[in-house]
């Protein structure tokens, strides 16, 4: 029998099932090279997609699954070329529909590790419906949403995450669209695993990928990704060493949420506290509120209210501030496990061979015989 992953030791919920449980594992150590296809990578020089590809090719060998049991599905857009560069099974499908195709794969086959690669236009505009339904259904897949806040492949129109007022080819007087916050949307759609990371922070990206793969259900990972051609510098505030301390609000389960430039004694100066005036969460100076008032991040809270409130601290205009990390990670039964469960129990309850049962089925009901 082929060994399959259990991976439960990695999970924050001991005893529950890992996202890769049931997927055959590889006994030999793997390398990133094995996961590299023979196709030339054709993103623009300096594109953030390269970094994500490298991180994924570095991470998959750590996951230790059999390469033939991994499937990457994408839609349309720059990021959706991703599957061509990985030597796994893959499908570069049509615009926005990757979550639906992945739902079919994940439901049909428990022994596959299913990944969706998508962008802000693909996932949130043309494919918004499929994304929210994959999340609410809780289908076991990992969704990597590369958010560069622009349409790249069609050469620079504003996207559903572009800031209002943005001047682009299709909005010469500035966009009048209000943008989506992908994390808020995923939380609103009842996502059971919702995270955000950054293309250039390989360590954080890999740690989020690891948690995402271990989660059984749709692991939604928004990856801030720079487009050097059409939206260069969109994430400079969170990438620049001078500003990142004030721009990134790091979320670590079980830790008080604090950030900001260090004071003389080497302590962070800002943190998140509840805001009694709005019922939400706000940024406060630790000196003003005291350390004990800081929110302790609870990604496992069954109630998504606090995670949502934290997600609202993301700038909707130019990004000077954004919470980064795992917002929510809760367990609930997956669609695909339950669908397969119904089939197995129906099968167990039905006697006879398929052929015998087919004869019984079509020969049932009110019949009469002519001799």
């Amino acid at each position: 029998m082929t060994p399959t992953s259990t991976g439960t030791e990695e999970l924050p919920f001991p005893g529950l099932r890992s996202g890769v449980e049931g997927v055959p594992t590889n006994e030999e150590p793997q390398t990133g090279k094995e996961y590299t296809s023979d196709q030339e990578v054709r993103w623009c020089p300096g594109c953030g997609d390269y970094a994500v590809l490298k991180a994924v090719q570095g991470f998959l060998p750590q996951l230790g699954l059999r390469r033939e049991n991994i499937v990457f599905v994408s839609g349309i857009g720059c990021s959706s070329r991703f599957p061509y560069y990985l030597d796994t099974y893959g499908m570069h499908s049509i615009h926005g529909r990757a979550p639906s195709i992945a739902t079919g794969i994940a439901t049909a086959r428990e022994d596959l590790s299913v990944w969706v690669v998508t962008g802000d236009g693909d996932a949130l505009s043309i494919g918004g419906n499929h994304l929210i339904h994959a999340l609410r259904r809780n289908v076991n897949m990992t969704i990597l949403l590369f958010n560069n806040r622009i349409y790249g492949l069609t050469k620079g129109q504003y996207s559903p995450t572009s800031e209002a007022g943005k001047i682009t080819k299709s909005t010469p007087m500035g966009s009048v669209d209000h943008p989506f916050n992908p994390v808020s949307l995923a939380l609103g759609a009842e996502g059971s695993f919702v995270a955000r990371t950054i293309d250039s922070d390989r360590k954080h990206l890999t740690s989020v990928l690891s948690a995402a793969a271990a989660h059984r259900g749709p692991s939604f990972v928004e990856i801030y990704q720079n487009c050097p051609i059409f939206n260069d510098g969109a994430f400079d505030a969170i990438k620049n060493n001078d500003t990142m301390a004030d721009a990134i609000i790091p979320l670590v389960h079980g830790e008080p949420i604090r950030f900001g430039m260090l004071d003389e004694s080497g302590n962070q100066t800002k943190g998140l506290v509840r805001d009694p005036a709005t019922g939400g969460v706000k940024v406060a100076e630790i000196a003003d509120v005291g350390h004990d008032a800081l929110l302790v991040h609870d990604a496992h809270n069954p109630d998504p209210t606090m995670a949502f409130a934290i997600s609202r601290l993301t700038d909707s205009g130019y990004l000077n501030q954004s919470p980064i990390g795992i917002f929510r990670q809760v367990e609930r039964p997956t669609y695909d496990d339950q669908a397969r469960g119904q089939i197995s129990s129906a099968r167990e309850a039905a006697p006879g061979t398929p052929t015998q049962r087919l004869a019984g089925l079509i020969g049932g009901g009110d019949t009469w015989t002519v001799v």
Binding site: E68, A102, G104, T107, A108, H133, P354, R357, I362, W368
Partner: protein
């Protein structure tokens, strides 16, 4: 009192009432009784799109027509011999379809001033002589039902609801139907509500006894069983046969069915039915929209399932891009279109066959898709198996065009022997198929079978065959992205050639030309098979010659079609559209085909079709054709 029993060879009965009166159930039960009795039969349900249109109004009328006979029949009949009307609206809506002398049985209870006004009557037609040319039976069905079920202490409303069973009992008596199956059915259906169960059974029996004892009905009728080929039969609707065909396709191919579907009339019953058959490994995924339905089916096909999506015309429009993806990725997929009246939302509950050109061409680029069409409700079973054979063998999406009439209509179906069903081999790729220059072996996902031009189907989990497919143009053989002009030209032609090659696997067409002397050929497809066959019989019974060919495969056309068309002086193509097959035939074979086209949301009428055929025979043979002059004409609708 001894009642007279009269022999008939065939009868057409239409049950009509309010949407909530249970006419579909009544018709269905009468059909089952007739089927068990051994008559040949064809049914035509006809109901509004609204679930409960305002009570007592014309838009709310629902009807069920059943044609049963002591011989082989092909249609649900043009004009009812008997109309059962449960209220004034049902009478008014259906009266125009009745020939002179037809029998009308009305429930007089609902002929109140208010209901008459709702139906648009200014005077009570039961009381003036407006129905004089019909054999009218005015019966207080509701009143007698309420009286009969009094003992069960139901509310008046609940008691009155059993009136359809009273009507069924009465008609069952009139036509000598066996009643056991209906009593068994009611016992099971209302097993959990004893008083409702007993009231329905009592009303049913009371209707029967009323027929037997009352002097209103002095004649009962006998329609002998029809001679049929030996075998075990059941009555079946198209949607049920289609669902069974999908389960059979799964068993015969060893591929689990994955149905991705979004509810839509008149296809939803397939989703309902398949959801009951999980024990066969069938997965039914009710998607968030039409696109997700086919998307998931494509994903499942990539993963090695028999991917299926079911819908109607509006859903096909939404799925078009995804069908193109399946064409490009060359994955087996069944796309089932239960056609309804269009365009747009059109006539959701009525039949039409106006999606042929959409099925043929409704995609961007050169995207050929094989098309298969069933010709009768029971034939849906075989048509699905054929569609599966093509999809799996040639690695292609296949469109199956059913329609609302096939979906809900029914006929006796000879239950096939499982051993006679075709075996379908998925033939998954298991090993590398290409040698690289350095001697290493590789897997090329677009290296084709020489005979079928099919590409290998390598499913995830197969080591060494990892590969990527997608919507971008593929390089021949290796399948990597290619923008090369010559490669694109080659691949476009190859995808077309692959579909064309399916014709190599098709049997010769069956030409129904009894003495081989006909000059007129009637060519059809889909559910018009019955009316065309009945129309041809009428013409032949009147002493004239006509040939009939019915197409199961619309893309590609069978190889001998061109030669067959060239044998006839005139070709008539009857369709429930404005001439879609005609257009394809004219374009492909340069044949001056004549169309016969109706888009009334109803099946074509055999009698009208016979006239059209007769006119063409007159023209082709230079003779006068009179279908009414022959004494046997009356008998011709067989």
């Amino acid at each position: 009192m001894t009642k007279q029993v009269k022999q008939l060879d065939r009868v057409i009965i239409r049950f009509a009432g309010d949407s909530g009166d249970g006419m579909q159930l009544t018709g269905d039960r009468f059909t089952q009784e007739s089927a068990v009795f051994g008559n040949d039969l064809v049914t035509l349900p006809n109901f509004p799109a609204e679930i409960r249109a305002p009570q007592g109004t014309l838009p709310g009328v629902s009807s069920f027509q059943v044609h049963f006979a002591d011989h082989d029949i092909l249609t649900a009949g043009d004009a009812p011999d008997v109309l059962v009307a449960m209220n004034p609206a049902a009478l008014r809506a259906n009266l125009g379809d009745l020939p002179k002398g037809a029998t009308i049985i009305v429930d007089s209870h609902d002929f109140t001033a208010r209901n008459l006004t709702k139906a648009g009557y200014t005077a009570n037609p039961l009381e003036d002589d407006s129905l004089a040319e019909f054999a009218l039976h005015t019966v207080d069905l509701t009143g007698m039902t309420v009286e009969a079920v009094k003992q069960f202490g139901l509310s008046r409303k609940d008691a009155a609801r059993a009136k359809n069973m009273f009507a069924l009992g009465l008609l069952s008596w009139m036509y000598g139907r066996p009643i056991e199956s209906t009593i068994a059915f009611l016992t099971k259906r209302f097993a959990k509500v004893a008083d409702i169960r007993d009231a329905n059974i009592t009303a049913f029996k009371a209707g029967w006894n009323f027929g037997e004892t009352t002097e209103t009905f002095v004649v009962s009728y006998e329609i002998k069983p029809a001679p049929m080929a030996a075998g075990t039969y059941r009555n079946i609707t198209g949607n049920l046969a289609l669902s069974y065909g999908l389960v059979a396709s799964s068993v015969q191919s060893g591929l689990p069915v994955f149905l991705g579907s979004y509810p839509i009339t008149p296809a939803s019953d397939i989703l309902h039915e398949l959801s009951k058959h999980k024990s066969f490994g069938v997965t039914t995924f009710q998607a968030e929209d039409e696109i997700a339905g086919i998307g998931a089916a494509i994903g499942a096909a990539f993963a090695g399932s028999l991917g299926v999506t079911t819908t109607s015309g509006p859903g096909i429009a939404l799925k078009s891009e995804a069908i193109g993806l399946a064409v490009m990725t060359e994955l087996p997929l069944l796309v089932i279109d239960v056609q309804r009246g269009g365009p747009s939302t059109g006539l959701p509950t009525k039949t039409e066959q106006a999606d042929l050109l959409q099925a043929m061409f409704g995609r961007n680029g050169e995207a050929p898709v094989p098309i298969v069409a069933p010709q009768s409700p029971g034939d849906c079973f075989d048509a699905v198996l054929e569609a599966t054979r093509i999809a799996v063998t040639y690695r292609t999406p296949v469109l199956l065009l059913s329609d609302g009439y096939l979906a809900n209509g029914s006929e006796p179906w000879k239950i096939p022997d499982i051993d006679d069903l075709p075996a379908i081999d998925p033939d998954f790729a298991t090993a590398a198929n290409h040698a690289l220059q350095d001697g290493e072996s590789d897997f090329w996902p677009y290296l084709r079978d020489e005979t079928t031009l099919a590409r290998p189907w390598a499913i995830p989990g197969t080591p060494g065959l990892e590969h990527r497919i997608g919507g971008l143009e593929k390089g021949d053989g290796h399948g990597n992205i290619s923008y090369d002009p010559a490669n694109h030209d080659f691949m476009v032609r190859t995808r077309q050639a692959k579909v064309d090659r399916i014709a190599d696997s098709l049997p010769p067409l069956e030409v129904d030309d009894p003495d081989g002397e006909a000059k007129v050929l009637v060519l059809g497809w889909g559910s018009t098979y019955g009316p065309i066959g009945a129309g041809c019989r009428r013409v032949r019974k009147a002493g004239y010659r006509v040939a009939q060919v019915h197409l199961r495969h619309l893309n590609p056309f069978p190889k001998d079609l061109g030669e067959i068309l060239s044998r006839y002086d005139k070709v008539l193509i009857p369709e429930m559209n404005l001439g879609q097959l005609s257009m394809l035939i004219r374009a492909r074979y340069l044949v001056d085909a004549v169309g016969y086209n109706h888009v009334r949301g109803l099946p074509l009428k055999a009698a009208d079709l016979a006239v059209a055929i007769g006119n063409l025979v007159a023209e082709a043979e230079g003779i006068d054709v009179d279908l009414t002059s022959t004494p046997v004409a009356e008998e011709a609708n067989k």
